[in-house]
Symmetry: C2
């Protein structure tokens, strides 16, 4: 396997982008990353596009060829889907293709234009990530993650302010990120006073509906940021087949694979972007990835350990919670954030001496997990 | 690159399968191929699922993890989408992963359960494969291919019976295929008397709406059938950006790449499964792949050259036209047909001395083309 480097990385603005079409976002991200890399479209050997809701929300499929055509290319192009892990998995497939020598230069884009449909349609579309047992029973994602939070609470105890502190931290980080969707700083009291959606999750515990795209260019040409490798694991879509709800075995297994593939030790990792679609998800991720012991992840944000200036900064971008979660874009956007941190170009939210960063992207309620590690060179 | 062999191949019945769910078809094909291969699910290192309409028609996404979970696995699993070329591209991605040594044993499944929605929904869903310029203008796929047929007719001349002969041949082949959807033999007169859908294409020039799935198991373990390699090419989704409508540059380029990658000479190819979503598409494919000169492909079926006993049998399965076209399944189903021909197990439709076979799968109106070659060993 060859070493794989990030030649260029780009994120569009995240937000309610009424002025942009799906295709606009896809092409802006692609051209943005190629521009940052100084790579002409003609040098691209293959395209990977991660997206989840394109057909349902935007009436658009065939996304690989769509982008290839817009760039006037005829190279192999594929759309990768694994629910909210579509972006992370597209990066992983692109990484493996370059690492194994199939292609020299690969363009990976994650994209979602969620505001083109009304919220019930989006909510219903997102349920395609789960087993029909859940969707037909009337579950939505907030109720699935609320169930996880309740299970966690029963097992370890969980206070509202421990959840709230995750949201407060991620909104603070987003306030420093000009590309983020929700840049307003909030307080624990505001979170605890916000409307209950599904107990114990309040509206400010939830990620929103966001438009956006992100892209990277990968090759073997040495740059300042290397993708060291990663791991992918899956689990049953249906919660009813799982042994426990307060952790995700797919995240645990993906992390084990990533540690093995890269040879990185957990304590060498300086910062992480983890999948915080709800505040409870960040807490579970910290434990599943082994950064905190079981039952201890809930204290991390409240103790300020995972804040920008803490001992282990998590979601410096603002995370899914506050940078925004255009579902298929998220896994690529996480990579873009870590790349800018490792390049020392993260501006006001720069983590000092960031050398190794981790990205963790989850599909659905843990049916897919993708972990990837990057290092400064 | 290592050599890659087909360990097992399986096709479900194709048809209006009211008694099966999407998941039933996905799992039947996967278990069928693993059974034929004598491979336990636990030996599978990665899963590739090709599907196009799963979200819109079946409210189901996250298809890789869905299958992984149903097989009680936790391996990497991805859904690949490239419109009607989703299946062929899933095979290609699985092939490359084994050839490059990323994985040892790969399971590839193509699946579509199209009858779970009403026809206008399916028609509208299929338009996701095109550019919005076409879909918003009121085009449907039959009108796009009718436009191609008209362009072909203007360039080279085209008689109704030349189109009809393709349908007659493929229905005849399907009559010999117990897994095919439309097994009724038809005549040129019947085709020419059938209802006009969009001139010059009549209802019997069109593939139908079919449910079905197909799967293969790939590894480096030597078997009787090797995948030699292939090629993928893309083109603009929008017809308005193309130079000509009577041929597909993506098919031409994919074929050139496949010939180069495999070292096979065109005249060594004994039989082919080509993408005949409409009769005109088979005629164009024969020319784009170089089996016939430009303007000559229209004579092939009428002269019986592409029939089972002809000099170059095409679509012995019945093709998309008569075996059926569950869109995401088709590209894998084509491979299954060629595998059974090369194994000498094609029963009544066995091609004598079949040594090298080709599969050609198209997405949309030619936005994606995938060509793959297989050989008997």
């Amino acid at each position: 396997m060859s070493r794989v480097f990030v030649e260029g990385a780009y994120q569009t603005n995240f937000g309610e982008l009424w002025e942009c079409s799906f295709k606009d976002l896809l092409v802006e991200a692609a051209r943005g990353a190629l521009g940052k890399a100084g790579v002409s479209p003609k040098q691209v050997d293959a395209i990977y596009v991660g997206s989840m809701l394109a057909e349902q929300v935007n009436d658009q499929g065939h996304l690989g060829a769509l982008l290839s055509g817009e760039l006037n290319l005829s190279c192999p192009a594929v759309r990768v889907e694994a629910a909210c892990a579509s972006g992370g998995l597209a990066v992983r497939k692109g990484f493996l293709a370059v690492a194994s020598g199939i292609y020299e230069t690969v363009l990976v884009v994650g994209v979602e234009k969620m505001t083109d449909a009304c919220i019930p349609e989006v909510t219903s579309g997102l349920m395609g990530a789960t087993d029909e047992q859940e969707s037909l029973s009337g579950f939505t994602f907030v109720s699935i993650y609320a169930l996880m939070a309740e299970a966690y609470k029963e097992k370890y105890g969980l206070r509202g302010k421990e959840l709230a502190a995750v949201a407060v931290k991620n909104h603070y980080h987003a306030s420093l990120n000009p590309r983020a969707h929700y840049r307003k700083r909030i307080t624990v009291d505001q979170v605890l006073a916000s409307r209950m959606v599904c107990s114990p999750l309040r509206i400010l515990d939830c990620s929103g509906v966001t438009d956006g795209a992100a892209a990277i260019v990968l090759s073997r040409k040495k740059t300042k940021v290397e993708i060291l490798g990663g791991g992918v694991a899956t689990d049953s879509l249906s919660l009813s087949k799982r042994k426990r709800f307060y952790s995700m075995s797919s995240s645990q297994k993906a992390m084990q694979k990533a540690l093995k593939e890269t040879g990185v030790k957990r304590q060498e990792i300086d910062l992480a972007e983890v999948h915080d679609c709800f505040t409870i998800a960040e807490i579970m991720a910290l434990e599943d990835l082994g950064f905190y012991k079981e039952g201890e992840g809930r204290r991390a944000a409240l103790r300020k350990e995972t804040w920008l200036d803490g001992k282990f900064p998590v979601n410096t971008s603002g995370g899914l919670k506050a940078c925004g979660h255009p579902v298929g874009a998220t896994g690529v956007r996480q990579i873009v954030e870590i790349v800018s941190q490792l390049q020392g170009r993260a501006g006001e939210r720069q983590v000092k001496n960031a050398r190794i960063g981790l990205c963790h992207n989850v599909g659905g309620s843990g049916g897919t997990a993708v972990v990837q590690m990057l290092a400064a060179r």
